[in-house]
Amino acid sequence: MFPFNFEWAWDIGHAIFFGGFWYAISILGAGMTYCVLKAAYDTLKDGGGSHH
């Protein structure tokens, strides 16, 4: 799963498979990071908790 695993090979199979995998992971990670950061920002902007 990482280049340092010994069965890793720099071949087309690994490139496509793990390319797709890490790409998907990145999108999910980036998306969630954005949501969480933005939510934190929005919360602070609202003025710390009194949201009624």
Binding site: E7, G31, M32, A39, D42
Partner: protein, 418 residues
Amino acid sequence: MDSALIPEGAKRCAFPKFAVGIAIVGAVVLWGVYAMLLCWFKGLNQTNMNDNYGFALWIWADLAVIAVGGGAFFTGLLKYIFKVDELKNIINFAVIIGFICYSSALLILAIDIGQPLRGWFIFWHANVHSMLTEVAFCLSCYFAVLTIEFIPNILENRQANKIPFFHHLAHNMHGVMAIFAATGAFLSFFHQGSLGGVAGVMYGRPFAVREGLLIWPWTFFLFTWSAAAFGPCFTLLVTKITETITGKKLVKDNVVHLLAKISGWMIFTYIIAKIIDTIYWAMVTAPGLGFDISRFYSDNSFYGYWILLTEIVICGVIPGLLLIMKSTRENPALRLVAIILGVIGVCLNRWVMVLQIMAIPVMSFDTWALYIPSWQEVATTVLPVAYGIILIAVTYRYLPVFPQEKELNSVEPAAETK
């Protein structure tokens, strides 16, 4: 008692009644958990699997729940990418069903493998040429997507939503949901497909093997397609069951009709492809390996042509047609028949592609191998069903799952049923 958690304006049964219901299903869960622990601590000798039946009931259940859970990705795809806006009224529920199905699938896999503590080797020491590797990666990633899709709905709980951070988080996640849904659809395409590929690449098994496109056998595409086609049937079926149990209408007819229509056309096109695939396999692939297809359906006490007929015609062609035609589709009874047949059809397909493959002798001097699962296998297979019922009950009670519920049930004070 728990009224503070119940969505505003929604009517729910009394807590004790709810608690009793959960306890009953919970007992089933405990039975399943006991069987699961037996399998983990004593090993797979607790099952009736054997060296001919390395894949058995569990793998069927796994494939089946993933297939019927396909409603989540397909509905998401339609809603977020193809902008079929009506589906927003059922997407929450589709996601919850998907979440249940996929979490169950992962649990079953964790019980099924002989060395659960080494299960992560499939990621760490991945063999990228194996369809099962592809399944594991895409399945896990897609489960993450489903979780992400499920989170906003949880955060919309009356109490959770009062917390500003959660409120904003849910809001923001809704904003970028299309990206998640697109990723989910991409991942789903591959893992549904690679589950089909698991069978299709077994070129030592003439019953399973298929020719295909590049590295993907035709079963790859058929599985994706069938999951997209029959998944919505399951979503509709569970919605119907939930409506029946709660005694409330939860989703408007036009939404149901739309999803049923899409499903109908998907089933219809899928079954044409499946028929072509079956004919080609029966006339070309298998005979090329020395097998007349009668070999796969005779000389044993269970598998006959009836299974092929049931899968393709009774549970494929018929539901497809019923859902395509407006008159039958909009007839509640016939629609129900169609979606039930559809769900049976896809489950039967997965059965055939797991258990019948294992049953059929390949060497000329080998014999049919039939097997009956042990109670431990049955219990662990029932476990996800019970867990699913509990999760649906809890989410229905505490989360605003059905946006149209309030509107559809505001005329009269609803009867208090669970």
